[in-house]
Symmetry: D2
Subunit: 344 residues, 4 copies
């Protein structure tokens, strides 16, 4: 059986594994205050071309989201996001458990616009009874989104400008950031992202690491006391160097980009095969997640050989399902999947 | 200037005021453990024809909502309600501040259906990744709703049956309950409501009292330790007897019904006048709130003489606004308002 | 039976009742935005000789405490107070329910010192692992304290200076403030309190009102968005004018001072009687609460005639109990109590 | 420089590393639902001789503590623990951030007694105003404690009996459990611990793993929906198999015991050296943490060669400091440390 249901089915990229092995017996201080973390932070700052950035390493995405959002908001404030946003749907209410409302904005493709942000601002300021409503204070986007789509540089710039205008923080969830930056239709760099958000994170878990997300903060207010929040929310890893070592390696010699390009290239290959079979998409995108609409009968036939994840029912006989590639996807498995698709 | 923007513009019904005056110098124990509260609880139990009900008096509606919901839910659980539900829109995230997600269901008229409840249940159980989503555990409805509509007895029975089937609590916010029960198209009694919910409250603030909501609990699990939650959330009134005295008087000699009938009768009079002028409604209802669509030009003309509340923009030249009657509305003011409407 | 167990056994001072009656049928806007509230705010600002103060009216003490503290602290911050502080002992964890640690400081008499505040600061800054501990950010004191003691002006000034030095907010719970200011050994005015705290409140519930606490904020940071917190925590009274009317009357013509002086004078009379009987105190003080140590046998004898509240066991045959006087205490009841004490 | 300040200075035990390497390229499902996790769960159940236990793997100790405690308590409930308990001191208010009061009990040696638990119960039930206080519902202990002491089997049995009597859950934090079980004065097995608690965890981070704590639940009520809490609090590791692989290896062929015995043997060697030098202890214990009182002058001399952690000031010229051994401590480093101690 070959698995395509997600981008975290395997362990870690061999180059990173090598470093974990070679450093295993060294003694370092804990909690991310070691030299590996310091070096990885520097490399990220350099990639973002901003030496003033604060960089913190967390273990996973939900942890990163809840910690950043809780650190940013006072009790009466909420966070705007697409209704399909990960924090709104798939984190078991992690943000609400910290006391904050997730304020969903309509979205068909997983993205939101500067106009929607301004409208939300106006809806909460023009109304004379605004004290009776949650005060939006942060905008959460993901890039790529949960539907695999990406923001253009202009879209991000407009969003950030709208946020500045409204007094909102802009937070970009980059759990799959590498795959977004490697997409054929992408026009942004990591530097662009650092320059057009208040805080974002560089996903490691889905892009080559065993685990780990690097939270990058440019907003001065958000930098203050951030380590307290990490500790309070259970995210301070005792052997913090594990995160530093992994991110140091990811940032070195273009590994992060190389890993991402590999996944995208295989996704494009797979996309070609789906299209050759005449399948259409739930949402069109060119990152490492493919949301394809298939007949239930076909899915029934292939499910003992191929792992995919169920997304949603489309009509009585069709469903949308997700196939993912990753840094670890083997070309031979892609070819096997294509052969299976051609056969059925 | 005459005010119709809400149903809490005045003080308290004269009969209740009389009792507050006559008992003022008595000494009683605090925190709702006095005899007035005990007597009021008994009267409510009798009106609901259920001697096993737990009854607690709280000061206001947001306080009642957040206390009931927090007492009912564990951290990973959420509450389903209409998107227009008061807890979703106008309580500054009070429920989220207690850690719980408010899960909005689509609704045009402020009501939700048994089918929507079952669908929500299925969407969170059939999906294999349900642990990644908030677990719904309570259904919140208001009757009348925030749009002045009411549930029929059959609708409530079906909702309650659906809740039982799904293992959800049903909670009815009755901030304006009296006006719902007095509506010409209502077919329920307070007994029906007690028998078809796990917990509900009888609104006092908007129906003749200075303040006060009587939370009525039939579900045994919800009864446990409820006073701890009241105290923790700041709702335990030191001079608790003030609530007992008010509810005792409201429940006595049909005062609650008399008050409600008065407001409904004047609302119907007003409705007749709006219809005579050819106005249409945002939502049609027959309780004490009238959501009428009017030309902005007309609103501009009358606003210095009449208080109303702005609801929403309808088109470029029309808005929906709200006019309320209450126990305290004077017939002469209704006639003045009608005269103004006819004049403009 | 005559009740001395607390200072909220009765209703409201007759002068205030008079105003509630005479204004009952007026129409005003809700939520504390009416003219009565505005006028009461002005009177409080004038009494504190500071026109820049923000004043908000809340219904009760626990509500005031949790709202102020939650509005002041970010998630990783806590509040320092005496171990006997009301927020640490008798509010069912209201502050923790908002996510904040109450950090108890040793205290024999209910008071804490500037030195303790500085020590707490040092203990959390000198330690290299401070990110692993809650960050103190506010100091909560009550005046009079839960044990009836009061701060001298110098003590308060020193505390406030220490807070400024450490970057802490100083919050004074004045649930019984009037009785503190009227105590024979007091050397402060309300102006002194406003000038030496960041936020405090003037208790109404226990000093003549039906209910109500006036939160007075001098710190600019704390003023921001405070009404959102009131609403979110369930403290925004629909008929907010009830609070305005009561505080306007309390602040007028020295009523607050007159009420307080009455209670203190009767407490002093009672203290004389206890001392004449040779009883000693758990804690010595001269406000309206008397914590006297009495033989259990005596308490057993008087308990059917007199209400008092049990404080704590002192030894095998003695307990400390509390007797309170209030604005409403009748001289004849004090004399009856003294007669009973002399008899047993 | 040789580090003794904590037991998480190094990476992972070589046998576990081997397994991580050999399984690295395998494809498995995520979130702990893979076969490695399943197998590790079974091995833990077997070691505890109870096939009904629920076992969940979390990344770190603070995360485990906050998740277990939040899953166990309703909003009005708190957790009892020694004042020195990790949750009370060194988790930045993680438990309070979930809304629950940590109720500290006096303790000189890091342990609490059955009698203290019963007293806490009585203090909250006998008092008539118990609704005004947090309701204790869980008892948290650590074994070894934060001061390196351990409970005897009889002490644990008595604590558990007291908890059952009072209706409290008993939760044992076993972050260093292996070292406790390997101590010369220990008389318990892991089976004893499973049989005398409602929930406990087996620490991996400090006992040979890269990271990981195995939460073991025997109480049926606590088992329900536990994975929701893990996800909500950010503790659900995407590549969950990393935890399964590590715990499978730890539980295999006595590795956990072997690792622990190694650390204890070196700690005993070190203890002998400290005693030979005439040093005394802050608290006496025989686990892997040594809390020794040393002259500041000596500490000053050795600090450039040896890492230790500062515990507290003892008198003007002495401090208590901590030296730890672990699975990874090298005998040669212990000898070097001893040589340094003899030299100064």
């Amino acid at each position: 059986m070959i698995l395509f249901q997600c981008d975290y089915n395997e362990g870690v990229h061999p180059r990173i594994l090598e470093r974990l092995i070679s450093t295993n017996e060294e003694q370092t201080v804990g909690y991310g205050e070691d030299e590996y973390c310091e070096k990885a932070r520097d490399m990220i700052r350099r990639k973002c071309k901003d030496s003033s950035l604060a960089v913190h390493f967390l273990v996973g995405g939900t942890q990163a989201n809840l910690t950043v959002i809780d650190a940013a908001l006072r009790s009466h404030q909420g966070v705007l996001c697409a209704v399909s946003g990960h924090i709104n749907v798939h984190e078991t209410g992690a943000v609400e458990a910290c006391g904050h409302k997730v304020m969903g904005l309509a979205s068909g493709d997983g993205k939101i616009t500067a106009m929607q942000v301004k409208d939300a601002y106006n809806a909460h300021v023009e109304d004379s009874s605004f004290e009776h409503m949650v005060q939006p204070k942060m905008v959460y986007i993901s890039n790529p989104t949960e539907l695999g789509t990406i923001y253009s540089k202009q879209e991000l710039q407009e969003l950030y400008a709208a946020c500045k205008e409204c007094g909102f923080y802009l937070f970009l969830d980059g759990a799959r950031l590498g795959y977004g930056l490697a997409a054929p239709d992408n026009d942004m760099t990591m530097e662009d992202i650092a320059a057009n958000t208040d805080v974002f994170y560089i996903g490691g878990t889905k892009v080559g690491a065993l685990f780990g997300e690097a939270v990058v903060i440019s907003n001065e207010t958000l930098k203050k006391d951030f380590r307290y929040f990490i500790k309070q929310r259970g995210g301070m890893l005792a052997k913090g160097r594990l995160l530093g070592i992994q991110f140091e390696e990811l940032m070195k010699d273009g590994l992060y980009e190389e890993i991402s390009a590999h996944a995208i290239s295989l996704a494009e290959r797979l996309r070609g095969a789906f299209e050759a079979q005449g399948y259409s998409y739930l949402v069109k995108n060119r990152t490492n997640q493919i949301f394809v609409i298939m007949p239930d009968a076909v899915l029934e036939k292939i499910k003992s050989e191929v792992g995919f994840s169920y997304q949603q029912r489309v009509d009585e006989t069709h469903s949308a399902v997700r196939f993912c590639t990753s840094w670890a996807t083997k070309e031979e498995n892609v070819e096997r999947l294509i052969a299976i698709l051609e056969r059925v």
